[in-house]
Amino acid sequence: MASGRVILTDGAWGTELQALGLGPDELPDLWNLSHPERVEQVARAYVEAGSEIILTNTFRANRLAAGGRISSTELAEVNRAGVEISRRAAMGRARVFASIGPSGKLLIEGAVTEDELHAAFAEQAEALCAAGADGLVVETMSDLTEAAIAVAAAKATGLVVVACMVFDSGRNRDRTMMGATPEQAAEVLAEAGADVIGANCGNGIAGYVPICARLRAATSLPIWIKPNAGLPELEGGRVVYRTSPEEFARHVPELVRAGANYIGGCCGTNPAFIRAARAGLERACT
């Protein structure tokens, strides 16, 4: 999949849906059924901003992560609708990679078994594949073991699988919550069958430049980077992310030099970041 050209992905969905009225108690994924037009609005804004790959509003639509808030009969429906909405918004101008988030349960704690994880991820991956996704993105993972299980389940569909971890722990903020390094992640995710590996969320884009370089050195697979706009801070009761689209874009050429093949944003980013990143990419190529 590495063509030499850097491909622009999308930004955050949750914060964008909130701006359109998603309540704090609502599971964003359920909006695929109740408010498909608003979900499509978010997806379309990314396509219009220049995203060549957009994701889907299905991050929590697996039976473990949804914690009973999506009935088992509705799960497949929510996943299918998620792909269809993104597909409509893409209008043939972007590919649709469907999002698979973490289970929210810790294996090491015994809160879930490997078999349960595999079954939940396989169920979601199959629903997303059947709905016509172009690829699957296993994202925001903190536990490599769980990520590897999700990748294997996703890979069984035959689709291209992207796998990315959150590196936000340790003295240098270069470990996952469970302590894994970028090098360990590269090895385990590749072995599990990932076609693209990477990092998302984290502590902002500047910190992901060296992590991208380390992933690049550790693997020949294409690299996917989607940092957040820094950590959220409260300002007068309002949540703010400090990184501006311009600042974000300034680091985009650095990410390209560090070996990123796919670049987008996570929490706190929006279509303005993608537009700015597009300009940053053009600078990087000239």
Binding site: P24, M178, E233, L234
Partner: protein, 211 residues
């Protein structure tokens, strides 16, 4: 002769099997459980917490240490109950309404248990009235709330409000935490304490109960 240092090392390195074996040996030798707790177990958990805070330990190491500690404590508990020893404190803990994340909360619960607290875990997505009911029923010293999402943080404020309205706010200390939560936010909503990780949560809990 049971080796207290071996117990300390076993807990620190998360070696549950050895921790249990040494504890059993110590009990057979009639060593005072309180000596085991104060001289080996709590120091081991404190050191594990320090290593976590210095980022030498990560979540797995911390969880394994807490698990070894809990397994040893389980052997001591009947003896402690016999002599009417009270736990360090009683805690009701949960992730607030609308928030399904329970990893951080579970970690804090484990560390508190490892620290000798009696922990009542209400789970995730806990509505304010459930916190109120648990306070009435369990009579805790401390209520701990977790939120991982900026959008669910306000439920901490409404829960504190509900405790006030139910007339039980004064009988408990309230501690909050979670990725987006800050000390300023904790103060603003009227919580008594804030901790930014599972290890400092135990320290803070002790501090609050001593106050």
């Amino acid at each position: 002769m049971a080796d207290l240092n071996k117990l300390y090392q076993a807990i620190l390195t998360g070696d549950q099997k050895t921790a249990v074996a040494v504890t059993e040996e110590a009990l057979a030798e009639k060593i005072d459980p309180q000596v085991l707790i104060n001289q080996a177990m709590i120091p081991a958990m404190t050191e594990a917490g320090n290593k976590f805070e210095c980022e030498e330990y990560f979540v797995p190491e911390l969880l394994l240490a807490a698990r070894a500690m809990k397994a040893s404590l389980a052997l001591l508990r009947p003896l402690l109950a016999e002599r009417g020893a009270e736990p360090v404190g009683r805690v009701v803990i949960g992730t607030v309404k609308g928030d399904l994340h329970d990893i951080g909360k579970n970690l804090v619960a484990s560390m508190l248990e490892g620290g000798g607290f009696e922990v009542h875990d209400l789970g995730a997505d806990v509505p304010p009235e459930k916190f109120v009911a648990a306070v009435r029923e369990k009579n805790p010293h401390l209520v701990c709330m977790s939120a991982l999402l900026t959008v669910t943080m306000p439920a901490m404020r409404t829960t504190i409000q509900a405790l006030k309205e139910a007339g039980v706010r004064q009988q408990v200390k309230v501690m909050v935490g979670g990725a987006p939560v800050t000390p300023d936010y904790a103060r603003e909503i009227g919580a008594d304490g804030y901790a930014d990780n599972a290890s400092s949560a135990v320290k803070k809990a002790r501090e609050l109960l001593a106050a």
